[in-house]
Symmetry: C3
Subunit: 268 residues, 3 copies
């Protein structure tokens, strides 16, 4: 029985996560279930898309990833089962609301099915908990190794979130232009700028400040100083040694990060 | 080996949850353990009773549900093993302090045993952690499929929390009278009023406000508006689109909800 | 396949815990993974050492305990695999930064290997996530039952945190002198003073207050009163009935606790 991962905005104080897991275990006995996170902010599809794409590559081939950040629950939005093609095989089961965007952008997705098998769905009370009544049965179906083609028609128009990719010289910018796509527990800023784009002598501008220092790991940064590092997802990370950079510098997700070779420019 | 669920007020920052799980895995190797929640407020038996009753129906037959919200730990309060009869089979293992109330009220409980097998209990240090030293061994006993009759005598007087059921016309009220029994992560108000009691044209009064709108799912509610919905437990839920209703309207668990057919009444 | 426990300061909102678990499941399929806690404050090795030593004794023989509170990630600090000798067998896999201190102090550790098998490590992006790229593969190696001697040379100089043990008469103090080593979710103060050191008629002094009452369990303490109890780890605990003692009395981890037989002394 393959592994199931679970990523939601349900939090850990309600019965919601347990009801999904119980349903999966009823329909796919013996499944190994791993939580990715349930602390996605309510309805934050962008955060869900980021965490899903961050977690997928590290799981065994064949893993089924169930992601339920679903403000449109109960509406006519589609339920998707997306075959993962690279770098690992498996499935993502999720609402068609953009959660798949980053996996799509990275070329990790093969065929996508729109699930139209009402007979699989459970007649749970109400229409507000598809995680339990619809997504869990679909995940269990795939965990049991049943034929995904039977879930519904292949589609090629999944909803995508409008995510602006980072740009560099040649893309019409001077230097490199990217964004903070995640702030982690330590207050490190994870950007979308590939670490391989960083050239010697360049510095980062963020929130009106300039970071010139480079490091390969946190302990190498002098206390109280900030630096750029190649982060755990292959992108540039900004970190403040011994402190929470995001809180200290008041940086939010989405903040623009500029990298230039010629020293800091004025920031408006 | 059946599934074990775990519901406590231990939080996730201490070693307590792990010590219970380790003990279960020592005594019932191979058990699949699922967390319901560990975020029950310290000693809040009513919240524990709600979450337990909410989670139980979704698990496989034979699941053992261990619930430890136990301010009386170490005292002479009994330890109960309650056979679950409907809608799914299994066991609830818990202190005799009212945690079983809602499962009892719903007719989900068959025989109840008072556990009096000192030989099963572990001689852990102190008398403050029966979750580890007493409840876990009892849960492991049931997980191993041993004979529950050997745990102790059947009892018929479990402690019940004084939970007032919702009332409707015929129960001496005009319209329907119920309460908020849970506030979920999104700020939705879960009431104890069966969704089937809702009649056409009726409206809800809560915290001095009136809700007339009906919906079947959240996305159907206009932004900034509130509505009544049939929730995931079969009861009426109140939700404010795009906001946390409980916080915005300052509603707490236990708040009274009135439903009338004849338009809003004055609320004192 | 033995059990793996996981103790980190990663929090539950990031993809970090999932990436470690996915990596373990790729390299040691079928492992049962149990979280100890991921809520250790960022970089708090002392808290990590406490929770690790608290959790270990309750797990099955052969369990592999992976502890990653690792502010020196990416530096040349060693990675250790420590064989657990008592009271249960198994392994602890952790950075050489003091996390092992309390297990060492208690004599629970046998041979310690410095892991020097670069071929086991994964070439993950960056050098900031050894939990995923280095510790997880080592844990999987041990979970698969491979020969620990092949991990690297035995060492006898693990880093130790400077933890002052509790003292009593004969150790140069009058009465007993100890510290608050943990504050739990309920606000109870866990001290390092063995419960067996407590003599009749003695009282505790903490934060300028005196506690004379003794109890064996919380419910026995009169509401609003504080008492000393033998706690779940075999040491003295201080608890305030129906309240959070640490918050109410403004006590922090590390606070000194004095126990005297002759009534309270003046506290500076």
């Amino acid at each position: 029985m393959p592994v199931l991962t679970l990523l939601t905005d349900f939090g850990l104080a309600d019965y919601y996560v347990a009801a999904v897991k119980g349903t999966v275990l009823r329909l796919a006995p013996g499944a190994t279930i791993v939580d990715v996170s349930h602390e996605v902010a309510a309805g934050d599809r962008l955060a869900g898309a980021f965490l899903l794409a961050a977690a997928v590559p590290w799981f065994p081939d064949g893993t089924v990833h169930l992601a339920v950040v679903d403000p449109g629950v109960g509406s006519s939005r589609r339920i998707l089962a997306a075959r993962l093609a690279a770098p690992v095989t498996g499935w993502a089961v999720l609402p068609d609301n953009g959660l798949l965007t980053l996996l799509l952008d990275r070329g990790h997705v093969g065929e996508i099915r729109s699930v139209e098998r009402d007979d699989l769905f459970l007649p749970g009370p109400g229409s507000t908990f598809h995680g339990r009544d619809r997504f869990a049965p679909v995940a269990a179906f795939l965990l049991r190794g049943e034929d995904a083609a039977a879930l519904g028609p292949a589609i090629d128009d999944p909803v995508r979130l409008p995510i602006e990719p980072p740009r560099r010289a040649g893309d019409g910018v001077d230097g490199v232009d990217g964004r903070v796509v995640h702030i982690d527990r330590y207050g490190n800023l994870v950007t979308d700028i590939p670490a391989s784009w960083l050239e010697d002598g360049s510095c980062a501008e963020i929130a009106g400040r300039t970071v010139e220092r480079r490091a390969t790991h946190y302990a190498e940064i002098p206390p109280g100083e900030a630096a750029m590092l190649p982060g755990s997802l292959g992108t540039i990370e900004l970190s403040l040694r011994g402190d929470d950079l995001a809180r200290r510098w008041k940086v939010h997700r989405g903040a623009r990060v500029r990298i230039s070779r010629t020293g800091p420019r004025e920031t408006a």
